[in-house]
Symmetry: C2
Amino acid sequence: MNVLWIFAHPEPRSFSGALRDDGLRTLREQGANVRESDLYAMKWNPLVDADDFGSAAGSDRLIVGATSKKAFTSGELSDDILAEQEKLAWADAVILQFPLWWAGMPAILKGWFDRVFVKGFAYGIQRPDGRTLRYGEGMLAGKRAMVVLTAGAPERTLGPRGVNGEINDLLFPLQHGTLWYAGMSVLPPLTVCGADRVSPEEYGIAAEALRERLRTLSTSDPIPFRRQNFGDYDEHLVLRDGLASGLSGIGVHTA
Amino acid sequence: MNVLWIFAHPEPRSFSGALRDDGLRTLREQGANVRESDLYAMKWNPLVDADDFGSAAGSDRLIVGATSKKAFTSGELSDDILAEQEKLAWADAVILQFPLWWAGMPAILKGWFDRVFVKGFAYGIQRPDGRTLRYGEGMLAGKRAMVVLTAGAPERTLGPRGVNGEINDLLFPLQHGTLWYAGMSVLPPLTVCGADRVSPEEYGIAAEALRERLRTLSTSDPIPFRRQNFGDYDEHLVLRDGLASGLSGIGVHTA
Protein backbone atom coordinates (compact mmCIF):
# COMPACT_ATOMS: atom_id res chain seq x y z
CA MET A 1 0.00 0.00 0.00
CA ASN A 2 1.27 3.46 -0.90
CA VAL A 3 0.55 6.08 1.75
CA LEU A 4 1.09 9.84 1.47
CA TRP A 5 1.28 11.60 4.84
CA ILE A 6 0.58 15.32 4.76
CA PHE A 7 1.70 17.14 7.89
CA ALA A 8 0.73 20.75 8.57
CA HIS A 9 2.22 21.80 11.90
CA PRO A 10 4.95 24.45 12.37
CA GLU A 11 6.74 22.57 15.17
CA PRO A 12 8.27 19.12 14.57
CA ARG A 13 9.01 18.81 18.31
CA SER A 14 5.28 19.04 19.10
CA PHE A 15 2.86 16.39 20.26
CA SER A 16 1.66 16.35 16.64
CA GLY A 17 5.21 15.77 15.42
CA ALA A 18 5.65 12.81 17.78
CA LEU A 19 2.36 11.31 16.59
CA ARG A 20 3.45 11.72 12.99
CA ASP A 21 6.76 9.97 13.63
CA ASP A 22 4.90 7.16 15.37
CA GLY A 23 2.43 6.87 12.51
CA LEU A 24 5.12 6.74 9.82
CA ARG A 25 6.99 4.04 11.76
CA THR A 26 3.81 2.00 12.14
CA LEU A 27 3.10 2.16 8.44
CA ARG A 28 6.65 1.10 7.53
CA GLU A 29 6.47 -1.82 9.96
CA GLN A 30 3.29 -2.90 8.18
CA GLY A 31 5.21 -2.95 4.91
CA ALA A 32 3.57 0.13 3.45
CA ASN A 33 5.44 2.44 1.10
CA VAL A 34 5.38 5.88 2.68
CA ARG A 35 6.00 9.35 1.32
CA GLU A 36 5.56 12.61 3.16
CA SER A 37 4.64 16.23 2.50
CA ASP A 38 5.76 18.11 5.60
CA LEU A 39 4.32 21.43 4.49
CA TYR A 40 6.12 23.77 6.90
CA ALA A 41 9.45 21.95 6.39
CA MET A 42 8.93 22.22 2.60
CA LYS A 43 8.10 25.94 2.95
CA TRP A 44 4.98 25.20 0.94
CA ASN A 45 3.56 28.27 -0.78
CA PRO A 46 -0.20 28.27 -0.04
CA LEU A 47 -1.22 31.20 -2.27
CA VAL A 48 -2.94 30.68 -5.61
CA ASP A 49 -1.81 33.31 -8.10
CA ALA A 50 -0.90 33.71 -11.77
CA ASP A 51 2.61 32.30 -11.19
CA ASP A 52 1.02 28.86 -10.71
CA PHE A 53 -0.01 28.66 -14.33
CA GLY A 54 3.00 29.59 -16.46
CA SER A 55 2.18 31.13 -19.82
CA ALA A 56 -1.41 29.82 -19.51
CA ALA A 57 -2.09 32.82 -17.26
CA GLY A 58 -1.26 35.36 -19.97
CA SER A 59 -1.76 38.99 -19.04
CA ASP A 60 -5.56 39.06 -19.11
CA ARG A 61 -7.54 39.00 -15.94
CA LEU A 62 -6.96 35.78 -14.02
CA ILE A 63 -9.92 33.38 -13.94
CA VAL A 64 -8.59 30.75 -11.57
CA GLY A 65 -10.66 27.71 -12.59
CA ALA A 66 -10.34 28.08 -16.35
CA THR A 67 -6.68 29.05 -16.23
CA SER A 68 -5.76 26.18 -13.92
CA LYS A 69 -7.41 23.74 -16.32
CA LYS A 70 -5.52 25.21 -19.26
CA ALA A 71 -2.22 24.97 -17.39
CA PHE A 72 -2.96 21.44 -16.20
CA THR A 73 -3.75 20.31 -19.74
CA SER A 74 -0.72 21.97 -21.30
CA GLY A 75 1.66 20.85 -18.55
CA GLU A 76 2.43 24.39 -17.44
CA LEU A 77 1.56 24.11 -13.77
CA SER A 78 4.43 25.13 -11.51
CA ASP A 79 6.82 22.38 -10.41
CA ASP A 80 5.78 22.37 -6.75
CA ILE A 81 2.16 21.69 -7.74
CA LEU A 82 3.17 18.94 -10.19
CA ALA A 83 5.25 17.24 -7.50
CA GLU A 84 2.25 17.03 -5.16
CA GLN A 85 -0.02 15.78 -7.92
CA GLU A 86 2.49 13.05 -8.72
CA LYS A 87 2.49 11.97 -5.05
CA LEU A 88 -1.32 11.90 -5.06
CA ALA A 89 -1.41 9.82 -8.23
CA TRP A 90 1.02 7.37 -6.59
CA ALA A 91 -0.86 7.10 -3.29
CA ASP A 92 -3.53 4.56 -2.37
CA ALA A 93 -4.26 6.44 0.84
CA VAL A 94 -3.61 9.96 2.12
CA ILE A 95 -3.31 10.97 5.78
CA LEU A 96 -4.02 14.64 6.52
CA GLN A 97 -2.61 15.59 9.90
CA PHE A 98 -3.10 19.05 11.33
CA PRO A 99 -3.99 21.00 14.47
CA LEU A 100 -7.51 22.41 14.45
CA TRP A 101 -7.06 26.18 14.16
CA TRP A 102 -10.19 28.31 14.13
CA ALA A 103 -12.38 25.28 13.48
CA GLY A 104 -10.46 24.28 10.38
CA MET A 105 -7.16 23.58 8.67
CA PRO A 106 -4.10 25.82 9.09
CA ALA A 107 -3.73 28.10 6.07
CA ILE A 108 -0.73 26.14 4.77
CA LEU A 109 -2.90 23.04 4.32
CA LYS A 110 -5.90 24.90 2.93
CA GLY A 111 -3.52 26.37 0.39
CA TRP A 112 -2.25 22.90 -0.49
CA PHE A 113 -5.76 22.05 -1.65
CA ASP A 114 -6.29 25.47 -3.27
CA ARG A 115 -3.17 25.01 -5.41
CA VAL A 116 -2.89 21.24 -5.98
CA PHE A 117 -6.56 20.40 -6.58
CA VAL A 118 -6.77 22.27 -9.90
CA LYS A 119 -9.51 22.01 -12.48
CA GLY A 120 -9.01 18.98 -14.70
CA PHE A 121 -7.13 17.16 -11.95
CA ALA A 122 -9.51 17.17 -8.97
CA TYR A 123 -12.68 18.70 -10.40
CA GLY A 124 -14.40 19.89 -13.54
CA ILE A 125 -14.17 16.59 -15.43
CA GLN A 126 -17.28 15.91 -17.47
CA ARG A 127 -18.84 12.59 -18.44
CA PRO A 128 -20.09 12.11 -22.01
CA ASP A 129 -23.69 12.73 -20.77
CA GLY A 130 -22.71 16.20 -19.49
CA ARG A 131 -22.78 15.35 -15.80
CA THR A 132 -19.64 16.28 -13.94
CA LEU A 133 -17.56 13.69 -12.08
CA ARG A 134 -17.91 14.86 -8.52
CA TYR A 135 -18.80 13.52 -5.05
CA GLY A 136 -17.65 9.94 -5.25
CA GLU A 137 -16.29 10.02 -8.81
CA GLY A 138 -13.27 11.66 -10.38
CA MET A 139 -9.58 11.08 -11.00
CA LEU A 140 -8.92 10.47 -7.31
CA ALA A 141 -11.73 7.92 -6.88
CA GLY A 142 -10.59 4.66 -5.31
CA LYS A 143 -8.10 6.39 -3.04
CA ARG A 144 -8.68 6.65 0.69
CA ALA A 145 -8.23 9.70 2.91
CA MET A 146 -8.19 10.10 6.68
CA VAL A 147 -7.91 13.20 8.85
CA VAL A 148 -5.73 12.98 11.98
CA LEU A 149 -6.51 15.96 14.09
CA THR A 150 -5.23 17.54 17.30
CA ALA A 151 -7.46 20.02 19.10
CA GLY A 152 -7.00 22.16 22.18
CA ALA A 153 -10.66 21.90 23.11
CA PRO A 154 -12.03 19.22 25.45
CA GLU A 155 -13.71 16.27 23.71
CA ARG A 156 -17.26 16.97 24.87
CA THR A 157 -17.20 20.47 23.38
CA LEU A 158 -16.67 18.83 19.95
CA GLY A 159 -19.45 16.27 20.48
CA PRO A 160 -22.97 16.22 18.99
CA ARG A 161 -24.26 19.07 21.21
CA GLY A 162 -20.94 20.60 22.29
CA VAL A 163 -20.53 24.37 21.99
CA ASN A 164 -17.88 24.13 19.26
CA GLY A 165 -20.00 21.99 16.96
CA GLU A 166 -19.52 18.28 16.24
CA ILE A 167 -16.12 17.58 14.73
CA ASN A 168 -17.52 15.92 11.60
CA ASP A 169 -19.68 18.99 11.00
CA LEU A 170 -16.62 21.25 11.30
CA LEU A 171 -14.77 18.95 8.90
CA PHE A 172 -17.62 18.77 6.37
CA PRO A 173 -16.01 21.35 4.02
CA LEU A 174 -12.83 19.24 3.97
CA GLN A 175 -14.18 15.70 4.21
CA HIS A 176 -17.23 16.13 1.96
CA GLY A 177 -16.64 19.38 0.07
CA THR A 178 -13.03 18.62 -0.87
CA LEU A 179 -11.96 14.97 -0.46
CA TRP A 180 -15.27 13.31 -1.35
CA TYR A 181 -15.93 16.00 -3.98
CA ALA A 182 -12.73 14.88 -5.71
CA GLY A 183 -13.81 11.25 -5.47
CA MET A 184 -11.82 10.00 -2.47
CA SER A 185 -13.28 7.63 0.13
CA VAL A 186 -13.06 9.37 3.50
CA LEU A 187 -12.49 7.36 6.68
CA PRO A 188 -13.80 8.71 9.98
CA PRO A 189 -11.30 11.18 11.48
CA LEU A 190 -9.08 10.47 14.46
CA THR A 191 -9.40 13.39 16.86
CA VAL A 192 -7.03 13.87 19.79
CA CYS A 193 -8.30 16.50 22.21
CA GLY A 194 -6.52 18.62 24.80
CA ALA A 195 -3.35 18.40 22.71
CA ASP A 196 -1.41 21.19 24.45
CA ARG A 197 -1.46 19.46 27.83
CA VAL A 198 -1.07 15.70 27.35
CA SER A 199 0.60 13.47 29.91
CA PRO A 200 2.85 10.58 28.81
CA GLU A 201 -0.07 8.22 29.55
CA GLU A 202 -2.41 10.24 27.36
CA TYR A 203 0.22 10.32 24.63
CA GLY A 204 0.39 6.53 24.78
CA ILE A 205 -3.37 6.22 24.40
CA ALA A 206 -3.44 8.60 21.44
CA ALA A 207 -0.51 6.87 19.73
CA GLU A 208 -2.13 3.45 20.16
CA ALA A 209 -5.42 4.79 18.73
CA LEU A 210 -3.48 6.07 15.73
CA ARG A 211 -1.65 2.77 15.25
CA GLU A 212 -4.96 0.90 15.34
CA ARG A 213 -6.44 3.25 12.71
CA LEU A 214 -3.37 2.76 10.50
CA ARG A 215 -3.56 -1.03 10.80
CA THR A 216 -7.12 -0.88 9.44
CA LEU A 217 -6.44 1.85 6.89
CA SER A 218 -7.18 -0.36 3.90
CA THR A 219 -10.13 -2.24 5.43
CA SER A 220 -12.23 0.09 7.60
CA ASP A 221 -15.49 1.50 6.29
CA PRO A 222 -15.49 5.03 4.88
CA ILE A 223 -18.10 7.63 5.82
CA PRO A 224 -21.11 6.73 3.64
CA PHE A 225 -21.46 10.09 1.89
CA ARG A 226 -24.01 9.98 -0.93
CA ARG A 227 -22.72 9.83 -4.49
CA GLN A 228 -23.85 12.63 -6.80
CA ASN A 229 -24.60 10.75 -10.00
CA PHE A 230 -26.33 7.57 -8.87
CA GLY A 231 -29.90 8.70 -8.30
CA ASP A 232 -29.91 10.35 -4.87
CA TYR A 233 -29.78 13.89 -6.32
CA ASP A 234 -32.08 15.31 -8.99
CA GLU A 235 -31.07 17.18 -12.15
CA HIS A 236 -30.49 20.36 -10.12
CA LEU A 237 -28.24 18.38 -7.74
CA VAL A 238 -30.76 18.67 -4.92
CA LEU A 239 -31.46 15.61 -2.75
CA ARG A 240 -34.63 13.84 -3.91
CA ASP A 241 -37.78 14.20 -1.84
CA GLY A 242 -38.00 10.54 -0.87
CA LEU A 243 -34.60 10.60 0.88
CA ALA A 244 -34.15 12.01 4.41
CA SER A 245 -37.63 13.42 3.94
CA GLY A 246 -38.34 16.73 5.58
CA LEU A 247 -34.75 17.10 6.75
CA SER A 248 -31.96 19.45 5.74
CA GLY A 249 -28.42 20.17 6.89
CA ILE A 250 -25.17 18.30 6.71
CA GLY A 251 -26.61 15.00 7.91
CA VAL A 252 -28.76 14.45 4.82
CA HIS A 253 -25.68 13.91 2.65
CA THR A 254 -24.77 10.71 4.48
CA ALA A 255 -26.72 7.57 3.50
CA MET B 1 -19.49 54.03 11.35
CA ASN B 2 -16.01 52.57 10.86
CA VAL B 3 -15.90 49.69 8.38
CA LEU B 4 -12.94 47.42 7.66
CA TRP B 5 -13.20 45.62 4.30
CA ILE B 6 -11.10 42.48 3.97
CA PHE B 7 -10.67 41.32 0.38
CA ALA B 8 -9.14 37.94 -0.45
CA HIS B 9 -9.10 37.54 -4.24
CA PRO B 10 -5.96 37.40 -6.41
CA GLU B 11 -7.45 39.39 -9.30
CA PRO B 12 -8.60 43.00 -8.81
CA ARG B 13 -10.09 42.99 -12.34
CA SER B 14 -12.47 40.18 -11.35
CA PHE B 15 -16.20 40.25 -10.73
CA SER B 16 -15.27 40.16 -7.04
CA GLY B 17 -13.01 43.19 -7.51
CA ALA B 18 -15.82 45.16 -9.17
CA LEU B 19 -18.20 44.26 -6.34
CA ARG B 20 -15.62 45.39 -3.80
CA ASP B 21 -15.16 48.75 -5.54
CA ASP B 22 -18.92 49.19 -5.64
CA GLY B 23 -19.22 48.29 -1.96
CA LEU B 24 -16.51 50.70 -0.85
CA ARG B 25 -18.12 53.51 -2.87
CA THR B 26 -21.52 52.79 -1.34
CA LEU B 27 -20.11 52.91 2.18
CA ARG B 28 -18.33 56.23 1.54
CA GLU B 29 -21.51 57.72 0.07
CA GLN B 30 -23.28 56.73 3.29
CA GLY B 31 -20.68 58.69 5.25
CA ALA B 32 -18.90 55.65 6.68
CA ASN B 33 -15.18 55.70 7.39
CA VAL B 34 -13.63 52.90 5.39
CA ARG B 35 -10.33 51.07 5.62
CA GLU B 36 -9.26 48.08 3.59
CA SER B 37 -7.07 45.00 3.89
CA ASP B 38 -6.59 43.78 0.32
CA LEU B 39 -4.70 40.65 1.29
CA TYR B 40 -3.21 39.72 -2.08
CA ALA B 41 -2.24 43.33 -2.80
CA MET B 42 -0.61 43.54 0.65
CA LYS B 43 1.22 40.25 0.01
CA TRP B 44 -0.17 39.08 3.33
CA ASN B 45 1.84 36.26 4.89
CA PRO B 46 -0.69 33.60 5.97
CA LEU B 47 1.68 31.24 7.81
CA VAL B 48 1.88 31.12 11.58
CA ASP B 49 5.44 30.47 12.72
CA ALA B 50 7.92 31.49 15.40
CA ASP B 51 8.77 34.74 13.56
CA ASP B 52 5.32 36.07 14.54
CA PHE B 53 6.24 36.20 18.19
CA GLY B 54 9.60 37.97 18.48
CA SER B 55 11.70 36.94 21.46
CA ALA B 56 8.60 35.44 23.08
CA ALA B 57 9.16 32.41 20.86
CA GLY B 58 12.57 31.65 22.34
CA SER B 59 14.29 28.52 21.07
CA ASP B 60 12.15 25.94 22.86
CA ARG B 61 9.47 24.06 21.01
CA LEU B 62 6.79 26.39 19.73
CA ILE B 63 3.41 26.11 21.48
CA VAL B 64 1.35 28.43 19.33
CA GLY B 65 -1.42 29.44 21.75
CA ALA B 66 0.74 30.10 24.80
CA THR B 67 3.49 31.83 22.82
CA SER B 68 1.05 34.06 20.96
CA LYS B 69 -0.45 35.19 24.27
CA LYS B 70 2.99 35.96 25.66
CA ALA B 71 3.91 37.97 22.56
CA PHE B 72 0.56 39.78 22.57
CA THR B 73 0.98 40.75 26.22
CA SER B 74 4.58 41.89 25.87
CA GLY B 75 3.94 43.76 22.60
CA GLU B 76 6.26 41.52 20.59
CA LEU B 77 3.87 40.41 17.86
CA SER B 78 5.19 41.18 14.40
CA ASP B 79 4.25 44.53 12.87
CA ASP B 80 1.93 43.14 10.19
CA ILE B 81 -0.17 41.40 12.84
CA LEU B 82 -0.28 44.52 15.03
CA ALA B 83 -1.45 46.62 12.08
CA GLU B 84 -4.41 44.32 11.47
CA GLN B 85 -5.30 44.21 15.16
CA GLU B 86 -5.28 48.00 15.21
CA LYS B 87 -7.70 48.08 12.26
CA LEU B 88 -9.98 45.59 14.01
CA ALA B 89 -9.96 47.63 17.21
CA TRP B 90 -10.92 50.69 15.14
CA ALA B 91 -13.73 49.00 13.21
CA ASP B 92 -17.40 48.86 14.12
CA ALA B 93 -18.05 46.39 11.32
CA VAL B 94 -15.92 44.05 9.22
CA ILE B 95 -16.74 42.81 5.72
CA LEU B 96 -15.04 39.57 4.69
CA GLN B 97 -15.15 39.16 0.93
CA PHE B 98 -13.78 36.06 -0.77
CA PRO B 99 -14.44 33.47 -3.46
CA LEU B 100 -15.55 30.11 -2.08
CA TRP B 101 -12.63 27.76 -2.77
CA TRP B 102 -13.04 24.13 -1.70
CA ALA B 103 -16.04 24.98 0.44
CA GLY B 104 -14.16 27.60 2.44
CA MET B 105 -11.91 30.63 2.54
CA PRO B 106 -8.83 30.97 0.33
CA ALA B 107 -5.70 30.17 2.34
CA ILE B 108 -4.64 33.84 2.46
CA LEU B 109 -7.78 34.70 4.45
CA LYS B 110 -7.64 31.63 6.69
CA GLY B 111 -4.10 32.67 7.50
CA TRP B 112 -5.26 36.17 8.34
CA PHE B 113 -7.36 34.66 11.14
CA ASP B 114 -4.65 32.16 12.12
CA ARG B 115 -2.14 34.99 12.62
CA VAL B 116 -4.22 37.99 13.72
CA PHE B 117 -6.65 36.25 16.09
CA VAL B 118 -4.00 35.42 18.69
CA LYS B 119 -4.59 34.30 22.25
CA GLY B 120 -5.29 37.23 24.54
CA PHE B 121 -6.68 39.25 21.64
CA ALA B 122 -9.44 37.08 20.16
CA TYR B 123 -9.61 34.14 22.55
CA GLY B 124 -8.39 32.74 25.84
CA ILE B 125 -9.57 35.63 28.01
CA GLN B 126 -10.91 34.44 31.36
CA ARG B 127 -13.59 35.96 33.54
CA PRO B 128 -13.00 36.18 37.29
CA ASP B 129 -15.25 33.10 37.77
CA GLY B 130 -12.97 31.01 35.55
CA ARG B 131 -15.26 30.84 32.53
CA THR B 132 -13.65 31.91 29.29
CA LEU B 133 -15.03 34.81 27.25
CA ARG B 134 -16.09 33.05 24.09
CA TYR B 135 -19.10 32.73 21.76
CA GLY B 136 -20.73 36.10 22.09
CA GLU B 137 -18.26 37.64 24.54
CA GLY B 138 -14.66 38.81 24.19
CA MET B 139 -12.61 41.80 23.13
CA LEU B 140 -14.34 41.97 19.74
CA ALA B 141 -17.88 41.84 21.16
CA GLY B 142 -20.12 44.64 19.91
CA LYS B 143 -18.55 44.62 16.46
CA ARG B 144 -20.43 43.32 13.43
CA ALA B 145 -19.15 41.00 10.72
CA MET B 146 -20.59 40.00 7.35
CA VAL B 147 -19.37 37.55 4.75
CA VAL B 148 -19.66 38.54 1.06
CA LEU B 149 -19.11 35.46 -0.99
CA THR B 150 -18.79 34.56 -4.66
CA ALA B 151 -19.26 30.95 -5.67
CA GLY B 152 -18.99 29.12 -8.97
CA ALA B 153 -21.73 26.66 -8.03
CA PRO B 154 -25.40 27.22 -8.91
CA GLU B 155 -27.54 28.55 -6.06
CA ARG B 156 -29.67 25.45 -5.57
CA THR B 157 -26.62 23.27 -4.96
CA LEU B 158 -25.83 25.48 -1.93
CA GLY B 159 -29.40 25.36 -0.61
CA PRO B 160 -30.82 23.32 2.30
CA ARG B 161 -30.68 19.99 0.42
CA GLY B 162 -28.21 20.89 -2.33
CA VAL B 163 -25.34 18.53 -2.97
CA ASN B 164 -22.68 21.01 -1.79
CA GLY B 165 -24.29 21.58 1.59
CA GLU B 166 -26.16 24.69 2.71
CA ILE B 167 -23.95 27.76 2.58
CA ASN B 168 -24.43 28.63 6.26
CA ASP B 169 -23.37 25.11 7.19
CA LEU B 170 -20.21 25.46 5.09
CA LEU B 171 -19.55 28.81 6.75
CA PHE B 172 -20.17 27.53 10.29
CA PRO B 173 -16.43 27.21 11.08
CA LEU B 174 -15.96 30.86 10.07
CA GLN B 175 -19.21 32.45 11.17
CA HIS B 176 -19.68 30.55 14.44
CA GLY B 177 -16.30 28.97 15.17
CA THR B 178 -14.26 32.11 14.49
CA LEU B 179 -16.25 35.37 14.34
CA TRP B 180 -18.89 34.53 16.96
CA TYR B 181 -16.27 32.67 19.02
CA ALA B 182 -14.35 35.94 19.26
CA GLY B 183 -17.52 37.79 20.25
CA MET B 184 -18.57 39.43 16.97
CA SER B 185 -22.20 39.65 15.85
CA VAL B 186 -22.47 37.89 12.50
CA LEU B 187 -24.94 39.10 9.87
CA PRO B 188 -26.32 36.60 7.35
CA PRO B 189 -23.90 36.21 4.42
CA LEU B 190 -24.44 37.64 0.95
CA THR B 191 -23.79 34.84 -1.56
CA VAL B 192 -23.44 35.52 -5.28
CA CYS B 193 -23.55 32.29 -7.29
CA GLY B 194 -22.27 31.47 -10.77
CA ALA B 195 -19.61 34.16 -10.38
CA ASP B 196 -17.42 33.11 -13.31
CA ARG B 197 -20.16 33.70 -15.89
CA VAL B 198 -22.21 36.75 -14.92
CA SER B 199 -23.91 38.95 -17.49
CA PRO B 200 -24.02 42.75 -17.02
CA GLU B 201 -27.65 42.36 -15.86
CA GLU B 202 -26.66 39.76 -13.28
CA TYR B 203 -23.81 42.00 -12.13
CA GLY B 204 -26.31 44.80 -11.61
CA ILE B 205 -28.54 42.59 -9.49
CA ALA B 206 -25.62 41.40 -7.36
CA ALA B 207 -24.28 44.93 -6.88
CA GLU B 208 -27.70 46.21 -5.83
CA ALA B 209 -28.08 43.33 -3.36
CA LEU B 210 -24.70 44.29 -1.89
CA ARG B 211 -25.62 47.98 -1.68
CA GLU B 212 -28.83 47.08 0.15
CA ARG B 213 -26.93 44.92 2.64
CA LEU B 214 -24.45 47.76 3.25
CA ARG B 215 -27.22 50.29 3.80
CA THR B 216 -28.58 48.08 6.60
CA LEU B 217 -25.20 47.05 7.97
CA SER B 218 -25.72 48.72 11.33
CA THR B 219 -29.39 47.81 11.72
CA SER B 220 -30.06 44.33 10.37
CA ASP B 221 -30.43 41.37 12.71
CA PRO B 222 -27.43 39.12 13.26
CA ILE B 223 -27.64 35.32 13.15
CA PRO B 224 -29.01 34.37 16.60
CA PHE B 225 -26.16 32.07 17.64
CA ARG B 226 -26.41 30.99 21.26
CA ARG B 227 -24.11 32.65 23.80
CA GLN B 228 -21.84 30.33 25.78
CA ASN B 229 -22.06 31.81 29.25
CA PHE B 230 -25.72 32.70 29.70
CA GLY B 231 -27.31 29.39 30.63
CA ASP B 232 -27.79 27.53 27.33
CA TYR B 233 -24.68 25.36 27.84
CA ASP B 234 -23.85 23.31 30.93
CA GLU B 235 -20.56 23.26 32.84
CA HIS B 236 -19.04 20.98 30.19
CA LEU B 237 -20.13 23.43 27.47
CA VAL B 238 -22.72 21.00 26.13
CA LEU B 239 -26.17 22.30 25.17
CA ARG B 240 -28.66 21.68 27.99
CA ASP B 241 -31.21 18.91 27.56
CA GLY B 242 -34.23 21.22 27.54
CA LEU B 243 -33.01 23.12 24.45
CA ALA B 244 -33.44 21.72 20.91
CA SER B 245 -34.31 18.47 22.64
CA GLY B 246 -33.29 15.29 20.90
CA LEU B 247 -31.47 17.21 18.17
CA SER B 248 -27.82 17.58 17.29
CA GLY B 249 -25.78 19.20 14.52
CA ILE B 250 -25.05 22.76 13.57
CA GLY B 251 -28.66 23.92 13.83
CA VAL B 252 -28.86 23.48 17.61
CA HIS B 253 -26.43 26.35 18.17
CA THR B 254 -28.86 28.91 16.78
CA ALA B 255 -31.65 30.02 19.14
